[in-house]
């Protein structure tokens, strides 16, 4: 390894109740491509936010060119030559390429008039674009560019800032194969020019092809490093998995029935060229694992009717049903606990009682007028049985903690007649105590004969709670696992796109 550009020593980052990073050390050399891998929630993004100056570490030292910093500001990070190419691109669509590259530091002219010097801007951006070998010019509107082209704009912006280290977070997640190859080509050229890249990706094949060195994170710890010669699929996966999973499985009291919710060749608008088939039986919890962006939420929202299906069908208890709106799904007893509960699950400004009755209001209003007494009675029952911690059911949802808000969303559906419930990331942002309460509730529902589909990116949750696991990869189901085959290794292999296990065995 050549001279060290940047070094992180013993970085710790704790949030209330969670340790996101636990003493991570890492160094990047000049003209080196460093791969950074790990499961969802391993701490990669937090680490990069610390590097970019967005988040301050709780402890540890950042060394840039021999100078030690306890924490970086965004300005210091930029000055040190650290630049981001964001996962969700941060460009202004209404401006042209040159304006985006120079946003916030536009060259000026005209003295007191303080005009933007368009000519200088374009003249300075053009050579950067030539260097990246792109097919658009500085005057093109970003609106008209593809995602791959926009990424190049971000890289041009990084270069214009004299970046020496470019952090790329999942840069290829929405690129086509040829676009990916082009990007990898550009990365290789950057290295030849002496620029370093930190490359974060779930796509192990790309990591193997382009990285000089790979660092693996797991549960906020650095668990290993692979030199160029040691990088292989099997080696990377071996390092990514292998933590102790606490046993949180609750034995079902009943045997699942044969019937249930069947999704047949369903095509969602997120992946219009992929069809998904799966079935959840009444009385079982089917975990739906996969990497972020693999199409799980789209599947859930299509089954629930808030996204229109492109093709395919759904049957419930053997009968085909038509679901074009959430109202249709709710009428059939199919409910969704959405991933973003603040945006989609709750009316935050309204009291608990009105949130609980909202989806079933007609049944509280035999004469068109809402029976407030009955509404309170039902809400009070839900508050007691779910132990929602609030002074009363008239408390506004916005004042509750995440766990209690989730219970209000749950209470809305439990006060009705559930046949199948889809949980999308049911315990995200919820503390440990409330988590186990929600797991117990899910099991109790399954025991009552409800079909439960649980989308989760938390490996412990998927393996610990499910009776069966389905894994999605880029819009299709890459495999199913029965309890006896549950392992982090097997889930992860399917999640990164392997359909069988022979491949790993051969590598190992």
């Amino acid at each position: 390894m050549a001279e060290t550009l940047l070094e992180l020593r013993g970085i710790i980052k704790t949030y209330p109740g969670v340790t996101a990073l636990d003493g991570v050390s890492l160094s990047v050399g000049k003209a080196e491509i460093l791969g950074l891998i790990g499961e969802n929630g391993a701490g990669k993004s937090t680490l990069m936010k610390i590097l970019g100056g967005v988040v301050a570490p709780t402890a540890g030292v950042i060394v840039v060119d021999g100078t030690e910093f306890p924490t970086l500001t965004v300005k210091e990070a930029t000055k040190a030559g650290i630049a981001f190419v964001h996962q969700e691109l941060n460009l202004f669509e209404n401006l042209d390429v040159a304006a985006n590259v120079f946003i916030g530091r536009e060259p000026r002219r005209g003295g007191i008039l303080n005009l933007v010097d368009e000519a200088t801007m374009h003249a300075r951006v053009a050579p950067l674009l030539t260097r990246l070998g792109v097919d658009f010019g500085p005057g093109d509107s970003v609106e008209t560019l593809s995602i791959a082209q926009r990424q190049m704009v971000e890289i041009a912006k990084a270069l214009s800032l004299d970046a020496r280290i470019i952090i790329m977070d999942e840069p290829t997640s929405s690129l086509t194969l040829t676009e990916t190859e082009r990007l990898l080509g550009v990365i290789a050229e950057l290295r030849a020019d002496g620029v370093s890249v930190i490359y974060i990706s779930h796509r192990l094949a790309e990591v193997r092809d382009c990285c000089d060195r790979v660092v693996v994170l797991r549960d906020g710890k650095r668990v290993g490093e692979l030199a160029k010669a040691e990088i292989s699929h099997a080696a990377m996966i071996r390092l990514m998995i292998g933590r102790d999973l606490k046993s949180i499985y609750i034995q079902p009291k009943t045997v699942p029935q044969n019937a249930g919710l069947d999704v047949k060749e369903l095509v969602t608008s997120a992946f219009p060229d992929r069809a998904v088939s799966l079935s959840v039986r009444f009385g079982e919890i089917l975990g739906l694992a996969g990497l972020i962006g693999s199409g799980r939420t789209s599947l859930a929202e299509t089954v629930f009717g808030v996204q229109p299906p492109v093709a395919g069908g759904i049957t419930l208890n053997g009968t085909p049903i038509r679901v074009n709106t959430a109202r249709d799904a709710i009428a059939e007893g199919i409910y969704l606990i959405p991933e973003d509960r603040k945006r989609c699950g709750l009316l935050l400004d309204m009291p608990i009682v009105e949130n609980i009755s909202l989806a079933d209001l007609d049944s509280y209003a035999p004469m068109m007028l809402v029976d407030g007494g009955r509404e309170h009675k039902v809400a009070e029952e839900q508050r007691r049985s779910l132990s929602i911690k609030a002074p009363s059911v008239d408390t506004k949802a916005i004042t509750l903690s995440g766990g209690n808000q989730q219970k209000v969303v749950l209470g809305k559906w439990l006060s009705m007649r559930p046949k199948a419930i889809i949980f999308d990331e049911p315990t995200r942002g919820i503390d440990v105590g409330a988590k186990s309460e929600i797991y117990a509730l899910m099991r109790a529902l399954a025991d009552r004969g409800v079909a439960i589909l649980m989308i989760s990116s938390d490996m412990e949750e998927v393996i610990g709670v499910s009776d069966r696991i389905a894994v999605m990869h880029e819009g299709r189901i890459s495999g199913f696992l029965d309890r006896k085959d549950f392992s982090e290794h097997n889930v992860l292999m399917l999640a990164v796109g392997h359909t069988g296990q022979e491949d790993v065995a051969a590598h190992a």
Binding site: F304, V306, T325, A326, R327, A329, I330, A331, L336, P338, R343, C344, G345, L346, L347, L348, D349, M350, E354, L358, A359, L361, D362, Y364, A365, M368, L369, V370, K389, A390, P391, T395, K396, I398, T399, L400, S401, N404, K412, G433
Partner: protein
């Protein structure tokens, strides 16, 4: 929730009291009845406007609808000799249809309410002026609609029918907005359309219904105004009236972001506006300052309300922190 309305009511009492002290004529029967008539006329369509604002939308075409529907009503009644019940029905139905079109454009074609109803404002005014060649229409010497005239502009026990009608409609709409399923859906859609959709609420239908109700009340108001002004001059009739309605709704606690408001608030907002107009006359303030007085009071009113809101938000945040502490303590207690 009722605190806001109470504050508004007290403000009206204070302003009324001050005006009455300076000029006792303010409380004379003639003036009060005149005031009640104005409140009735302007309150009716303000309620419709309020419903639309609660969905997070806006209805700007009300004044132009008055001109167009007023012309249609007179035309049917006088030139086509249609019986008054039918003429009334067609006019009100016209309002319903226009509201339905606005609602459909907003919900199905995802157009912005401001744009849709601004185009309505221009379109209906233009059609009314073209159809009449910009000439004022009146009742002429025809007859046969004396019953309707009594209904729309008469008095019972000295109380103007417009005011009685407003009270009846406000009572019905209060129940609809604050007690019915539709009312609850209206607030839910205005507060968070996404969450409403995820709870199975037919959001498009709810929003369209709000525009239809606004159209219905505007159609009725159009007829009331024809009998009030006795003639319709297409270029001036109802000009700016939508702004009165929006001002009433905002004064009455409707947030332009949607999801907030009450019928009693909208009615009190109308009362305040009309009292202000009346006060300008009563106190001998040049009537050219009319709009300026209204503008100043609305500005101050909304500013004061915003400060109160901010304090409320702080209290909510504090209560939330307290509840979470409580929860933590009790779970810690359970663990121990």
């Amino acid at each position: 929730m009722l605190k806001k309305e109470l504050g508004l009511f007290l403000l009206i009492v204070v302003i009324g009291g001050v005006t009455a002290t300076i000029n006792p004529q303010f409380l004379s029967q003639v003036n009060l009845m005149n005031l009640a008539n104005q409140i009735g006329l302007f309150g009716l369509f303000a309620i419709g406007e309020g419903l639309v604002i609660i969905t997070g939308g806006i209805e700007l075409s009300v004044g132009s609808m008055f001109a167009l529907l007023g012309i249609i009503f007179l035309d049917l009644l006088i030139n086509y000799d249609l019986g008054w019940p039918l003429a009334l029905l067609v006019t009100v139905a016209g309002g319903v249809v226009l509201g339905g079109i606005h609602g459909t454009l907003v919900t199905r074609l995802k157009m912005q309410p401001f744009v849709v109803t601004l185009c309505g404002l221009l379109l209906y005014r233009g059609i009314a002026r073209w159809y009449t060649a910009d000439s004022t229409q009146g009742f002429g010497y025809g007859g046969g609609y004396e019953n309707l005239e009594w209904l729309m502009s008469g008095r019972s026990y000295n109380v103007p029918h417009t005011f009685i009608f407003l009270v009846i409609v406000a009572a019905i709409m209060s129940v609809v907005l604050h007690k019915s399923v539709f009312g609850r859906y209206l607030f839910a859609v205005g507060k968070n359309e996404e969450a409403a959709r995820f709870s199975g609420i037919p959001t498009a239908r709810v929003i369209t219904t709000a525009y239809v109700l606004s159209g219905l009340l505007s159609g009725l108001s159009a007829v009331f105004f024809v009998f009030y002004t006795q003639s319709v001059s297409p270029s001036a009739h109802g000009n700016f009236y939508e702004l009165y309605a929006i001002a009433s709704a905002v004064l009455g606690g409707c947030s332009l972001r949607g999801g907030e408001g009450s019928i009693i608030g909208i009615v009190l907002g109308t009362v305040l506006l009309q009292v202000l107009q009346n006060l300008v006359n009563m106190l001998g303030i040049p009537s050219s300052l009319n709009f300026a007085v209204m503008g100043a009071v609305i500005l101050l009113g909304v500013l004061a309300d915003q400060q109160l809101q901010r304090r409320r938000q702080r209290n909510i945040a504090l209560a939330g922190a307290e509840a979470r502490n409580l929860a933590r303590q009790s779970s810690a207690g359970a663990a121990a």
